[in-house]
């Protein structure tokens, strides 16, 4: 079982990487993009004994204690069986 965690900046937090990369896309004539944000993707592999409910609580615990900075970031995740 796997957790796929997506971390991005909160609304209103300056994301210079996203802003500059979006400008670069414009400069190579890619049109139609209003704005973009760059975040992080983390994958966790659980050991075989872990059930889905435990996987969810382990993922949340890991995000809240270390993986995510609640001042600047938000996260979502999916559990893949």
């Amino acid at each position: 079982m796997k957790a796929k965690i997506f971390i991005k900046y909160k609304e209103g937090i300056l994301d210079p990487q996203g802003t500059v990369t979006n400008k670069a896309l414009k400069s190579i004539n890619i049109k139609g993009i209003d704005s973009m944000g760059i975040g992080k993707y983390i994958e966790i592999d659980f050991d075989k004994s872990v059930k889905k409910d435990d996987a969810i609580s382990i993922t949340k615990d890991s995000c809240n204690k270390l993986l995510v900075n609640p001042n600047t970031e938000t996260y979502t995740f999916e559990i893949e069986e």
Binding site: I13, L14, P16, Q17, V20, L66, L67, N69, T72
Partner: protein
């Protein structure tokens, strides 16, 4: 006055800080991050560098080093704690100082000398600096030094006079030009500029000494 300099894997300003504090007259020791007792010290300095390779977020992994429990306990007793650059990032991740330090507005690593305004003389770190010295010069060297904080906390910082240093010409996008803040009790200072690298005339500026000399009284 006995000062501990915490050494993490990846710290690289520990020797500079040792040299600066020793020259000014402190009794200085290096303390490895796996040690657990800081009770014998009057002050603690977390130096700059790239603790744990800046993995995940700057300072995020260092906050779980064994020494941090003792550092937090000693800081609660009112002992002086200074975090410089990566040290500031670690203090923020540990929750000892408010806000967050994110990537510089121009996404670049900036290494240059900057001019700082002393925004408050009402702290142990600045109280003995002559009021004639309204600005001081020292280097910055960071990529994640863009200080952000929510509106309410910014107001609190201002009301409690916790903003100690401001950039005269903001290099990194920090809100309200903030370069260094303290906690509410004003015994913990976090700052992105490097006073330890401006503590010897040979280095181009002696202004960093003023902060350490102020502590010594």
């Amino acid at each position: 006055m006995k000062f501990a300099i915490i050494v993490f894997p990846g710290s690289n300003c520990d020797n500079d800080a040792y040299y600066a504090l020793k020259n000014i007259g402190f009794n200085v020791s290096f303390v490895w991050h796996k040690d657990t007792n800081l009770s014998g010290f009057d002050g603690i300095l977390i130096p700059g560098g790239f603790s744990y390779g800046d993995y995940l977020r700057t300072g995020a992994i260092a906050k779980f080093s064994p020494i941090m429990k003792s550092l937090i306990a000693e800081s609660k007793k009112g002992k002086i704690v200074i975090g410089i650059c990566n040290g500031f990032q670690i203090l923020i991740e540990s929750g000892l100082l408010p806000g967050a330090l994110i990537t510089n507005k121009n996404i670049k690593f900036i290494s240059k000398t900057v001019s700082l305004k002393i925004n408050s003389y009402n702290s142990v770190f600045t109280k003995n600096i002559s009021k004639d010295r309204s600005d001081i010069n020292m280097p910055i060297a960071h990529k994640q030094g863009n200080y952000i904080v929510n509106k309410n906390t910014l107001e609190e910082l201002e009301q409690n006079d916790q903003i100690i240093f401001k950039y005269k010409d903001n290099p990194n996008g920090s809100i309200s030009d903030i370069a260094g803040i303290t906690n509410k009790n004003k015994n913990i200072l976090g700052m992105m500029p490097h006073p330890e690298r401006a503590s010897d005339g040979l280095l181009g500026s002696n202004d960093g000494r003023l902060i350490f000399e102020s502590i010594l009284g």
